[in-house]
Amino acid sequence: MLKALANIGKYIVLLKNIFSRPEKASIYYRQTLRELENHGIGSIWIIVVISVFVGAAITIQTNFNIENPWLPRYIVGVTVRDSLLLEFSSTMVGLMIAGKSGSSIASEIGMMRVTEQIDALEVMGINPAAFLILPKIIAMVLFMPVLCAVSVAVGLLGGYLVCLIGDVIPVSDYIYGIQYIFYPYYLSYAMFKAAVYGFIIATVAGFYGYHVQGGAIQVGKASTRAVVISSVMILFTNLVITNIILH
């Protein structure tokens, strides 16, 4: 319990250091672009692959569970769209990126710690917490909503393909369903959640990497801990945000 409280305190101190004045904005800008490429663009393919299968599977399962002849078939399209928008895309992307980028961030910063590269930055008069973690936070907060939007779009495409190829429901019903009573608010809700998850992933992974002590084994452990803790935080935050916004 005491250790958990100490970690929360250290996390808050790290956040304070991260959000202090940057030494040179242009360098941070360049770093942010590099992080956008690494953690944003580099993650699109995996999100596309997973989302297309998830969209297809949700379509089949929804159809399987709605076998009431009184319900119109386009309800499948509505359900798939709302499931992806409200829950699946944002949370699934959050958990996927926590695994992919979270472990990468923690091990990158952790290795820099054990090889004294962070000490070198500090001795040069650079704030290492801000220099290393802030561009990652900005990149993640900016790109996670994009990944979420891609996931929704590709998930809907997966549903469309399974209707087309697998003859689950008529394609026209599916297309009608995904357009039926669309609330744009759902989209902004999903984007907001994704941005929050991006912040959690970058800061939690940065925290565990930054505080590594020891060698390669500790870096590995920090990387695992970063993924586990950020995944739990994402699920908990999902519950809190959903309760606040949609309750």
């Binding site: 030494e23 040179k24 590269q117 500090e122 040069m124 008069g125 650079i126 704030n127």
Partner: protein, 249 residues
């Protein structure tokens, strides 16, 4: 000059630095020697602010580093260069970007001017045609040279070297020592070197401080090291039985 006065540092209940007072002089290679675990790395880390001390003062030309605010410390650090044990080069940057890094952060010079400074720093440490290479492609000695080039590119007033010869063969180690000595004289800077390599002590030790169990046990020049009657220092310097026989003969 760097003046340390009554430095104390403890980890839990153990004092790793116990009332250390010493002056590191400008234009000289000041060596801190001592066996592993004696506290010399902690002392150097305390001097550059990587560790906070419990008591005492660290003055850089009469500016008390301990009492400075974090932004003031950051400013003073721009006058420091440090060579870490493993080089601590940034893996993701090539050699030119590594050496240019402090310039990019703190200098408003044009790219061509910065490039010239990088090339002259690399040339100063005896490296050519390595600009595009990555740190992983260099040998241990070359990495140390690049780290020295990065440390001097902003023309620091204070140079810190933590075990500059660790992991190097004796011939390369002597070259690195000679380079540190030349840079100290050329730039007229205060250089502090942590070492337990006796070759370094005899080669470049203008002033030598022996740390024993966290305290300053002895202070003198490289010539004095060989003729001292300090038992702890003699046990450190003449550690082998052959060396002890030579000392006694």
């Amino acid at each position: 000059m760097i003046r340390l006065e009554n430095i104390y540092k403890r980890f839990e209940d153990t004092y790793v630095l116990n009332d250390v007072s010493v002056d590191f002089e400008k234009g000289k290679c000041n060596l801190i020697i001592g066996s592993s675990g004696s506290g010399k790395t902690v002392l150097m880390k305390a001097m550059v602010g990587l560790l906070d001390i419990d008591r005492g003062s660290i003055c850089y030309d009469d500016r008390d580093f301990v009492k400075m605010s974090p932004p003031e410390k950051q400013d003073l650090r721009k006058e420091m260069g440090m060579l870490f044990q493993g080089g601590a080069l940034f893996d993701s940057l090539n050699i030119e970007e590594n050496v240019m890094f402090p310039l990019n952060m703190f200098s408003r010079e044009s790219y061509s001017r910065k490039k010239n400074l990088v090339d002259s720093s690399l040339e100063r440490v005896g490296l050519r045609d390595v600009n595009r290479k990555m740190p992983a492609e260099l040998s241990g000695g070359m990495k140390k040279r690049v780290a020295i080039a990065r440390a001097i590119v902003l023309s620091p007033n204070y140079l810190f070297c933590d075990e500059p010869n660790s992991g190097l063969d004796p011939k390369t180690a002597i070259k690195i020592d000679a380079l540190i000595k030349e840079i100290t004289l050329d730039y007229n800077i205060t250089t502090v070197v942590n070492s337990h390599d006796m070759n370094s002590v005899l080669e470049i030790g203008d002033k030598v401080i022996y740390i024993y169990q966290g305290g300053k046990c002895w202070e003198g020049t490289k010539e004095d090291v060989l003729h001292t009657d300090n038992e702890a220092l003699n046990n450190f310097v003449f550690a082998t039985s052959m060396a002890k026989q030579l000392k006694n003969s």
